[in-house]
Symmetry: C2
Subunit: 312 residues, 2 copies
């Protein structure tokens, strides 16, 4: 279904060097892959559209890396080990070759970093904005995939890394907050999928997901999957030095795109996380599937955007 | 990475009923699938954009079915057995609920017909046209996948079904050719992936692909993969009664979207196809990777669009 005049040359030049063994040089109708024997396949797909999920003039290498990393974050949330991906790329006619070169260079860098390879896909034209879709494949021991369902009353709520940087980074790119050293913008443009942590959480986390829609909204997903409530203590939020300087606590609670892991831990397993880059920010309890946030003063915080009132 | 306000309700209403066992009710970050033991995974991805691959006002159920079937055709070309798919859907804000209902109804009908289920995906907004991407998963016995490489001099070139109907159907939808009973338009809108034939070709076809870009162009792919030439006899083309009435032989040779299987068969295996819905249309021979077409009069046919001169 190719419709770009130079599609074949374009694929050969930019995408074939990214192809893994199962990709058959991207020259067949499909890829053939033998997953490791005795492992289950874990597979996720996300789309990104220019003007919605990234800024149209973002550097193309960062667009490629963000596309790959947001999908890898879904595998991290399941505790899976990634091994490859398929991708469809729809671009306006006349997109310069340099854009593809940059996009492929970003993918290449991340393929090396994460030990994965391109398996197949499609390139088409579009009369609209650049539209990207990526399907990532990984594997996990049978029955061991981390799930959103599983939190119980009394479990602690943990989050990895720092929270809110990506949402503040988007505001910084729009000139709305200060970001002198570019740390926040970098967190928005380049997610860090927590793959090693995800694998480590087997046998520790009772439920897990990645934070893409915002901490409070995603905690609501864990609550609804488990049929219970949770309380987040805003004073415990892991904030970067840059986020502390900006000081928009509500944005950090509700902003998206962090791609950290958010997970439930039974009390008896918390000691196993003593040396992990994670923070206990609250706990689950019986009650309606609702997220309550207690502010630094201990009083319930009303949240305007994406807050707990959406989940009553 | 959801950004449609009603995304969760929309997924629950229209897409969750399509979800298979590994999809975890579309409620987790990824799907978990155990491919049949001892089989290799076969996986392909294609994108479709409104205004490029389908007409914006095409019935949404047919859009869903075409998206699924073009991908299933890639598995047919490899001789694989499909079992599931992931899909990303980017639509303009304000897309009516009825569009999603129709789109999902089309997918549901084809899931039943082909014995597959939805495994996961993503729904986002776009400021541009509807952009769809689908990744289809299947399996095959180890080493048995049909490939584009493998044709040898002396092999016959076969094609399944009839050729050219889809390209004529697009012309009919544009009012450029007659299609009184709608047979041609139906072939354009609703591909028939030749899955049963693809599986039957194990041990018979030496090389195989599906016809998506046009018969002559796709025969060129088989030539280049095998490093040899082929000659197509236009008089042998399997044309439907409707295509014969229209009489545009060149469109049938070069038009796309047929999704029939095009394959090479060693002479000693041709007898195995005696009762199959396939037609011998030419043969492979030594020489440069080039497709020659001999017209009904036996003389070489020059082809303006997508013809053999592009493959010298």
């Amino acid at each position: 279904m190719s419709d770009l005049p130079a599609e074949f040359a374009l694929i050969a030049r930019h995408f074939r060097p990214l192809a893994g063994p199962g990709a058959l040089d991207l020259g067949d109708d499909a890829a053939v892959v033998a997953p490791p024997p005795g492992r289950e396949l874990v597979i996720a797909a996300d789309a990104m559209v220019a003007g919605v999920h990234f800024l149209p003039d973002d550097p193309p290498d960062l667009i490629g890396r963000k596309l790959l990393r947001t999908n890898l974050s879904d595998l991290a949330a399941m505790g899976a080990e990634p091994f490859g991906y398929l991708m469809t790329v729809s671009v306006p006619r006349g997109t310069p070759d340099g854009w593809f070169a940059g996009f492929a260079a970003g993918l290449d860098a991340d393929q090396r970093e994460f030990g994965i390879a391109l398996l197949g896909g499609d390139t088409t034209s579009t009369p609209g904005p650049v539209s990207l879709s990526l399907t990532v494949l990984g594997h996990v021991a049978p029955g061991a995939a981390l799930r959103r369902v599983g939190a119980q009353p009394g479990h602690a709520l943990y989050v990895s890394g720092t929270i809110g940087d990506a949402a503040l980074g988007l505001l910084a790119l729009r000139g709305e907050v200060a970001d002198a050293d570019g740390v926040l913008a970098d967190r928005y443009r380049l997610p860090r999928p927590r793959l090693a942590l995800g694998r480590r959480l087997h046998g520790i986390a009772a439920a897990c997901m990645d934070v893409s829609d915002g901490l409070v909204q995603d905690a609501g997903h864990l609550c609804r999957a488990g049929g219970l409530g949770c309380t987040i203590l805003a004073a415990e939020l892991p904030l970067s030095a840059a986020a502390r300087r900006v000081g928009r606590l509500e944005t950090c609670l509700t902003g998206g795109d962090d791609y950290e892991l958010l997970f439930a831990v039974p009390p008896e397993r918390e000691a196993a996380l003593a040396d992990a880059p994670v923070t206990r920010i609250g706990h689950f309890h019986a009650g309606p599937a609702r997220v309550a946030v207690l502010g630094p003063d201990g009083a319930p915080m009303p949240l305007a955007g994406g807050g707990w009132s959406h989940f009553g």
